[in-house]
Amino acid sequence: MNLRKYEAVIGLEIHIELKTNSKMFCQCSAEYFGARPNSHTCPICLGLPGALPKANVESIKLVQKLGLALNCNIQLSNKFDRKNYFYPDLAKGFQISQYDQPLTSNGFIYIKNQVEQPKKINITRAHLEEDTGKLTHATINNRSVTLIDFNRSGVPLVEIVSEPDMHSSDEARDYAQKLQQIVRYLGISDADMEKGSMRIEPNVSLRNAGDKILPLYKIELKNINSFKFAQAAIEYEIERQTIILDSGKIPQQETRGWNEVKKQTVSQRSKELAHDYRYFPEPDLVPMQFDKIFISKLKTKIPELPAEKIKRFQKQYGLSAYDVDIITNDVDIANFFEQANIAYKKNTPKKIANWIIGELLRRLAQSNQKISQLDILPASLAELLYLIDSGEITNSSAKEIFNQMIKTGNTPKNLLKLMKIKSISPDELDLLVSKVLLANQQAVKDYKAGKTASIGFLIGQLHKKTQGQASPHLAKELILKKLNK
């Protein structure tokens, strides 16, 4: 790392849509993705005159769970506030959010810094708010228009605000990914950047290297829909602000959007006015109060989180840090690993890990899928390994079958028949070994006379007979067994 004149100061605001059945303040289905526009709306989420919100208890619980997972304090007294501003995607002209009493605050998580050491990132707060509608820009009859779909309006969102504790785009990316991982472990959201169920808004500023105080300005970055773009946008901002500071000026505080085509950040409409949000307590919703018993009960519902799982996997399975990192990245993969390991009763976690990393994850990456989208069962992987062990199929056939298992969810034995893969049953193989020995009496004699090298010849003969269906290793084992009788 080269010595730089400035140090970047980066904080992240992350919005994540919570996976509930219904929206946050109305009973419309929250599963709006791909639905006809404005078909998941009602008087409440359309902001029709007279409609009032009614809070979804589940959305509150999910934020509190996340708060616990992020080591936050769970506030016992809470309320909702109105955040007032105008935008065509905001049905009521205000967003129901939380201002001075967030559900959870003062937490932290660990990321890895430049030298792979753990680094603590403080989390200011995680609070609950409602999502807005979705705008699409279009040209109709040569007119530029904006189209609005309110299906997303009122879907619960958690906003997680970090302290400006990050100093590089790598750290920011790692923080965002760690957060995504925790959210997915909790099962409270898909946190899918591309689908927009996770949105990152970094704020970036620079200070003189060695300074401790925060810069007097900050640039908020929006319109980012992948980790890659988040990193690129931060990098671009660091360069842009460096140039401005070098010229003796101070960057203007503003909101900038990432333009993927131009690969640069561009100034968005001045939000100076909009920052006067006129928060006040939402009069249509009554306050929330929780007691410590409720919170401790909720704690028992927090599953094993990535950091704990990594420690346990290393200890329990004796896997390398590298393997564990990969396997625990997706909680569904980690679970698949553990279940396959139980089903395959040979206590060889490394073997299972190799199949998962080398085959399963490789193929998932190729098809851009998640294991949760597949039907493959951990027991099937165990079944496949047993087939190899018994000599019925070779390793390379097994890989072919595994590929089909991933695609179809079918079991190895079924696939073996369907795919007409040549295989030898243990009885058949036994018979072939006897035939080879009978046909090559000289070599048998030689072996028994101490010329052990003749075993190689016998293996070669068996290989011909089986047309390569038995592995050399297994062939040797079987021949020796018979010779030593």
Binding site: T20, N21, S22, Q27, C28, S29, A30, R36, P37, N38, S39, H40, T41, C42, P43, L46, K54, A55, N56, V57, E58, S59, I60, K79, F86, Y87, P88, L135, T136, H137, A138, I140, R143, S144, V145, T146, L147, I148, D149, F150, N223, G257, N259, V266, S267, Q268, R269, L273, D276, Y277, R278, Y279, P281, P283, L285, V286, P287, M288, Q289
Partner: protein, 104 residues
């Protein structure tokens, strides 16, 4: 962020700023009237300065209710036709407005 405590009430309003914030178009005549009337109203309201509220908590909800929530169960939505029924402009199931430009 905002909301620095300010013990005394202001008696003037920056009408231009507030009207913009409220997205309310005002013509000159309205501005003239409001510039006269609103300070009078503020002066009337400023009698609240006489009340000592140092040890008084603001009213939250007069009902005293807490934790009024509902279970996470979906119910049928309006139809798309109903949702759009009162909209001045629609297109293919969307509400339509003149283009909003996000970038300068």
């Amino acid at each position: 962020m905002k909301k620095k405590p300010e013990s005394r009430m202001a008696l003037n309003i920056d009408i231009e700023y507030v009207a913009k914030l409220a997205s309310i178009p005002l013509d000159l005549a309205e501005k003239r009237i409001f510039n006269k009337q609103l300070p009078e109203i503020l002066r009337y309201i400023s009698q609240l300065n006489k009340v000592n509220t140092e040890k008084v908590e603001p009213v939250g909800h007069v009902t005293g209710l807490v934790n009024v929530t509902r279970d996470d169960k979906p119910a049928p939505s309006l139809t798309q036709e109903e949702a759009l029924a009162n909209a001045p402009k629609t297109y293919n199931g969307f509400f339509e407005v003149d283009a909003i430009f996000e970038e300068k």
